[in-house]
Amino acid sequence: MTEERKKPVNRRGFLKGAAAAGAVTLAGAAESGARAAPAPAVAPPPMSPEAESAAPQELEVLTAETSGSDFMVDVLRALDLEYVCSNPGSSFRGIHEALANYAGGPGPEFITCTHEESSVAMAHGYAKIEGKPMAVMAHGTVGLQHAAMAVYNAYCDRVPVYLILGNTLDASVRRPGVEWVHSVQDAAQMVRDYIKWDDTPVSLEHFAESAMRAYMVAMTPPMGPVILVADSELQERPLESRDHLTVPRLTRTTPPQGDSAAVEEAARLLVTAEFPVIVADRAARTAAGMEGLVELAETLEAAVIDQGGRMNFPSRHPLNQTAQARAVLAEADVILGLEMTDFWGRTHAFRDQIHRTWRSIIRNDARLISINSGDLATPSNYQVFQRYTEVDLAMAADAEATLPALTEAVRRRLDGDRQRVLDERRDALAGAHRDIHERVRRDAAYAWNASPVSTARLSAEIWNQVREHDWSMVVGSGNSLSQWPQRLWRFDRHYQRIGESGGYGVGYGAPAAVGAALANRRHGRLSVNIQNDGDLMYGPGVLWTAARYRIPLLTVMHNNRAYHQEVMHIQRMANRFERGIDNAGFGNTLRDPDIDFAKVAEGMGVYSEGPIDRPADVAPALRRAIDVVRNGEPALLDVVTQPR
């Protein structure tokens, strides 16, 4: 070793009094310590009466009044971030401590999560109710690795999530051991395929500007997760002066609107169509989007199919034809797709047999119009964009932002004659809607008294109880419930349904429900989650978070004791290869032992009942659980259900 290398590092130069004296050996520690360990810069004062009364020695500065983290917290405050969900981690201990103790006004509230996947999925659910991101803090390495699946879900679902990652870039200051394996050259690299933007600031000013930019990017359609790396040195280094630092003002973009010529052409096609159909997927980002779609549909008197990516259209509106989507699509001469995830899939039937085949289910002469912000940011690697669709008029634009102009253009083209045609169409569609709803009610009655409980009965019982309240179904509208809530319930407010995971990554449901319920809490809404058993087992710890923060949420288990989608896939394979058709549960069931979710919830501090497998027992249990939730606490009912 050269003399130079043996010298202790005093990078910060924070020595009080005279110049640093160089290496001073700490008695004891140095003798017993490893040879390679650098000596501390300054010896602490010996604990002796002589030393106490002697003239003060030069002292190493061990404390400071403020740090970069305090400034970072001020930056976060300027971003309108209500909460920060986090599983605590040392690489962001500076910001964590500043959130706890830096007295400069209210900061984002720290919500302790038991897994980073829960943190991000909570932010995902929250953003879909509240329309703005929540912050998530995680280690740049092990935390982000845990979080990755939830980040992918948010990306696929076009939802803003604001991730702050701790990291220690400067290798020369890293603590040996853990801090090294928790450090990375390029933290965001492992998820860069499925985030919208990231940055690794090297100064506090840089941090502040990138923090603003990250928020702006996350909130510009197509929205998505963003990452800001907060270097630990930047966080922890004392801040001597703020004179050179400013917290920039947040710039908010307006969402991209379809160009006026294309909007006019779309209006022409829609008005002259004999039977236009509107299909909406992630279209209504906000309540205004839903109102905008109702206005367009009513102006055109067009059939609407709600794909359910967002709450796009009131479920009992007479123009809502979702329950007979195939039939109306077969008749359509113009189809307007709004923020479609999979326009091809909606317009084709696909057979999953030994030879995969497909056919169009729409008219050969049908004209397709698309308004989709997804077209502005098609990724390379992950195949989220679905199969190429032959669209006649494609606007790479935000549907919600474009709807008012489109409705106006449609209105300008309508005259009395056309209006009469439209009125007839409305009456026919309203009649069909009524008939379908009657059929749905009849269908719900099949297997009404069966045990385990049918998904129709479960959905009907919950509906019976929540309909009197201001409710919000935060999770539970998917295929695993055979779409019963969509079919039976009356959804007419934007917050009553928030779509699905996006990436179909299991484990989204429970934490997204807790995050959405946290957002609903302020509005006094009764949040309802119909929770799949397999999904809850990914991260049941989020139940503790719900209990810890008194998040009112009614969770009703759809406990079919299986990864049931996979049961059906294995059945398909077994049939195809003519063997083991009675063995589809192989590796797919959650039995022996059966999971007692009431006990799991109880252990997390959540009110619970179950298992309930008799349908008549569901309603009274629901009443008790709703009382708990109305009093501001989470509750869980474990209902043992039919497969789908």
């Binding site: 057979r351 995969r356 050969n364 009610r441 019976n464 789908r644």
Partner: protein, 115 residues
């Protein structure tokens, strides 16, 4: 691409198609077990009540037995085929007897809130 079937239909015809029985006299209880064990309930519900796109409603009042058994052997949609090699005619008849035994549901108005 619209209207395209990627492969000739002949490619879809696989396995043995057994002669279709005209009538069925099956054992209801054996049928219930077979219906669950061979996975029908996974897609059609434990009482054949149906499950949206996952599986259509089969009961009460199942479709006539010839159509029933023909569909199972050679489905034209997404349902996986059950050839005679894995599901014998007796089991089919039993299942049919089970589905036939399922009673009518209660009147929707008596159990569900007004629309």
């Amino acid at each position: 691409m619209k209207g395209l079937l990627a492969l000739p239909m002949s490619a879809l015809v696989l396995g043995t198609v057994s002669p279709v029985q005209e009538t069925a006299v099956g054992d209801r209880e054996a049928g219930r077990l077979a219906y669950v064990e061979t996975g029908c309930s996974a897609c059609h519900g434990l009482e054949g009540q149906g499950a949206g796109n996952t599986g259509s409603r089969l009961a009460p009042d199942p479709i006539p037995f010839p159509a029933f058994s023909a569909y199972i052997r050679q489905p034209t949609g997404n349902m996986p085929p059950y050839t005679a090699a894995v599901l014998g005619p007796d089991a089919l008849a039993d299942m049919y007897a089970f589905l036939e035994s399922i009673p009518d549901p209660p009147d929707a108005d008596s159990i569900l809130p007004a629309p």
